[in-house]
């Protein structure tokens, strides 16, 4: 799984929207799209302890990304279904397309760990993984071992990569960008929040996800390499060892699910990413007339009641 990368992706997607969608796709939808897969699946992955008993998935990796399990929450098919639901409910392309882009970013980024995601579900339940780093959520190790492994492996590099992608598009974090590109796409939500928060507060809210990403990356990395005193193979260490090799770190037992050969994963993921942008582009214009019709009907209903 990826950690802060998912927070940075939200801004990366916002900053790299197709030209005709600039200032028109909901930032909140991108955020919820990127956030939904783990919101649905992750709580039970780590589980919780109550009265000395652990409640949670017995095989976290199977539950998180597999089938049967909540692996469906990390599939493009599921994202498309939710988007259909949003469109059917609100006829709002700003939210439908935003959710689609955020969701796709999450699913495609998660092919990097050793479990990967079921990219072609429901046509295939095989997982697609690049094995860039080891998936490390276990019943015994919980969130701490997972974080330590991620921030000792190429997962840390992945977070840095997305961090620099956002920094490369630093304008996405500015007040001007927020006012001219983000607010116009979601005027009602920002206006509603503006009942309580002034501009400084609203801007902080917008930047909050990026702030959280940066801080969690620094905090977990510091904890894993400076504060923690793990015992690995019977040896007490000052901090978890770094291992920036492929499929690292070596000190975590690597788990896998039935999957396709890694060689076809990257090209397939890139094709799917292009496909998602192509579909979003193609639907964008068509959805406009649907939006207008829905709004016209709503206005008619309001006048008649």
């Amino acid at each position: 799984m990826s950690w802060a990368a998912h927070q940075f992706e939200v801004y990366a997607v916002e900053a790299h929207l197709p030209k005709k969608m600039v200032g028109q796709v909901s930032w909140f939808a991108i955020f919820f799209g990127d956030f939904t897969p783990d919101f649905l699946a992750k709580f039970w992955v780590y589980g919780f302890n109550f009265h000395g008993r652990h409640y949670g998935a017995t095989k976290p990796y199977q539950w998180h990304r597999g089938w049967p399990g909540m692996g469906i929450s990390h599939t493009l098919f599921f994202g498309a279904m939710v988007c259909l639901g949003i469109w059917g409910w609100k006829h709002n392309r700003a939210w439908t397309i935003g959710f689609l882009l955020g969701f796709a970013a999450h699913v495609l980024t998660d092919v990097n760990d050793s479990i990967g995601t079921m990219l072609l579900f429901p046509f295939s339940t095989l997982n697609w993984s690049l094995h860039t780093w080891a998936y490390a959520a276990t019943v015994k190790g919980g969130k701490y071992l997972d974080a330590a492994a991620y921030y000792s492996s190429l997962g840390f590099v992945m977070d840095l990569f997305w961090f620099f992608v956002v920094l490369g598009s630093w304008r996405v974090l500015t007040r001007e960008f927020w006012r001219t590109r983000v607010v116009p796409a979601d005027p009602h939500v920002w206006s509603w929040l503006g009942q309580w928060l002034d501009e400084r507060g609203l801007l902080a809210l917008y930047r909050g996800v990026f702030f959280y990403g940066v801080c969690r990356m620094i905090a977990w990395t510091t904890w894993a390499h400076v504060v923690a005193r793990p015992v690995i193979n019977g040896v007490k260490r000052n901090g978890y060892p770094w291992d920036l090799s492929w499929t690292g770190p070596w000190w975590v037992t690597r788990v896998t699910l039935p999957q396709v050969t890694p060689w076809i994963v990257l090209p397939t993921a890139l094709v799917l990413l292009g496909g998602v942008y192509f579909v979003a582009n193609a639907l964008w214009e068509r959805m406009e007339s649907g939006s207008i019709r829905a709004i016209a009907w709503r206005n008619v209903r309001r006048k008649t009641t």
């Binding site: 006829h91 969130k143 116009p184 005027p187 002034d198 902080a204 809210l205 930047r207 977990w220």
Partner: protein, 108 residues
């Protein structure tokens, strides 16, 4: 800590052809402001101190590293502290509102 105010608020231009969001009558945000140099320094200090405190505390209190707590921390620090100061000074804290205007004219 106070920012010089601009006369009008931002757009609320959620035109149907734009986002698909119905927007009549147009919603409005709190009044916009162009931060002065000193306000920018204050903002920088607030963001930096929010990051330092959050990271320092969360290293030892992992429950703070949560997707709700993180953004909330920033808002509480960057918006809450100045608001607290205003409260102490008995200044109004409710956001001001005004007529809509073209967002493209807003500059830093």
């Amino acid at each position: 800590m106070s920012e010089p105010s601009r006369p009008a608020p931002p757009p609320a231009s959620g035109a149907p052809s734009n986002s698909g969001t119905p927007s009549t009558p147009g919603p409005s945000l709190p009044a916009a402001s162009t931060p002065s140099r000193s306000a920018k320094y204050v903002d920088f200090f607030l963001y930096a101190s929010a990051a330092v405190t959050y990271i320092a505390l969360s290293i030892y209190n992992k429950w703070l590293l949560d997707w709700i707590v993180g953004p909330f921390w920033l808002v509480a620090w960057v918006w809450g502290l100045p608001t607290l100061v205003k409260l102490v000074r008995r200044q109004p804290i409710r956001p001001r509102r005004g007529p809509a205007r073209d967002p493209a004219r807003d500059t830093e």
